[in-house]
């Protein structure tokens, strides 16, 4: 197992590359998800207010 994590002495390079990739991809997903949610919530609120009394 420790051999797997050591990556033949290149652990720092290999794991940093995978870590940076995961960070950017997860960041893009969360950011996109949240901005869609915010826009849809604001839209729904405005549409309800327009339909209002």
């Amino acid at each position: 197992m420790s051999e797997f994590f050591a990556m033949g002495g290149y652990a720092g390079f290999v794991w940093s590359a995978y870590g940076a990739t995961a960070l950017v991809m997860v960041g893009l997903l969360i950011w996109s998800w949240r901005s869609r949610k915010a826009a849809e919530a604001a839209l729904q609120q405005l549409e309800e207010a327009r339909r209002g009394p």
């Binding site: 797997f4 990556m7 033949g8 002495g9 290149y10 390079f13 290999v14 940093s16 590359a17 995978y18 940076a20 990739t21 950017v24 991809m25 960041g27 893009l28 997903l29 950011w31 996109s32 998800w33 901005s35 869609r36 949610k37 826009a39 849809e40 604001a42 839209l43 405005l46 549409e47 327009r50």
Partner: protein, 245 residues
């Protein structure tokens, strides 16, 4: 063509992407999990590069997406300019940050691969430099959208930049053939077929499939967000107009 034109209708676009999103999410999760297992555990270390070859499984799919998303962005921009489809402009806008993100991943992972194998984090060879230019083209495209208050004019200006900047895409692709680069030439997408052993090629292609599904997923989520945003600002504008006498 009729199918494509139907997508210009925002409501239809949202309905279609709502149906596609779960499939893309499932495909991305499965393929990336399989790609990680095959790439990190099953694939052998390279006889010259040792374990650092595993960086390829994230570096190469990201670089393909960096070019692929720019191409998609240019195509969507062109159809936005020609047919004035607002959804095409918003789709291009949605692709930009995702493309910039994958370009950044390609640059970072390439640097982390270059240091142990070339002895340098960065060299100004044609491939690396043209990919850096690609990254700045994405940033410039996004900055133009931000710079205009009127989204229609912003879309137009951004689309023109996307199309002019497209010249850089073949430069990135063929830089390794046209110039003497430290970066190695193409070994998968090349005449005569891939020059990689299946034990390395299979995890690479599976990971690429996962990354493409992931990119499609995030682009669709962003595009839906942009459509909601556009509708929101149209409604706010209508409100403001009806309030002022």
């Amino acid at each position: 063509m009729a199918g494509l034109h139907a997508l210009a209708n925002p409501a239809k676009f949202v309905r279609l992407t709502d149906a596609l999103i779960p499939w893309c999410a499932g495909l991305a999760a499965l393929a990336i999990a399989a790609g990680l297992y095959l790439g990190l555990i099953e694939a052998p270390a390279d006889y010259q590069q040792g374990e650092t070859v595993r960086i390829m499984f994230v570096h190469v799919p990201s670089a393909w997406l960096a070019l692929g998303l720019y191409t998609g962005m240019a195509l969507a921009s062109a159809s936005g300019l020609i047919w004035r489809h607002p959804v095409a402009d918003l789709l291009a806008k949605a692709m930009a940050p995702i493309g910039a993100g994958f370009t950044l991943i390609a640059l970072i992972t390439g640097s982390l691969w270059g240091k142990p194998m070339w002895g340098a984090w960065w060299v100004w060879d044609a491939r690396l430099t043209s990919v850096l230019v690609l990254f700045f083209l994405y940033l410039g495209y996004m900055a133009i959208w931000q710079a205009y208050d009127d989204p229609t004019r912003g879309a137009r200006a951004a689309a023109i930049l996307a199309l002019v900047g497209f010249i850089n895409v073949p430069i990135v692709k063929f830089s390794v053939d046209w110039w003497n680069t430290l970066h190695q030439p193409a070994s998968v997408v090349k005449a005569g077929g891939p020059a990689i052993h299946p034990s390395i090629l299979t995890p690479l292609l599976i990971m690429a499939l996962g990354f493409f599904a992931f990119a499609a997923l995030v682009v669709m989520i962003r595009a839906q967000g942009e459509i909601a945003e556009r509708r929101l600002s149209a409604l706010r504008l209508a409100e403001a107009r009806s309030e002022t006498p």
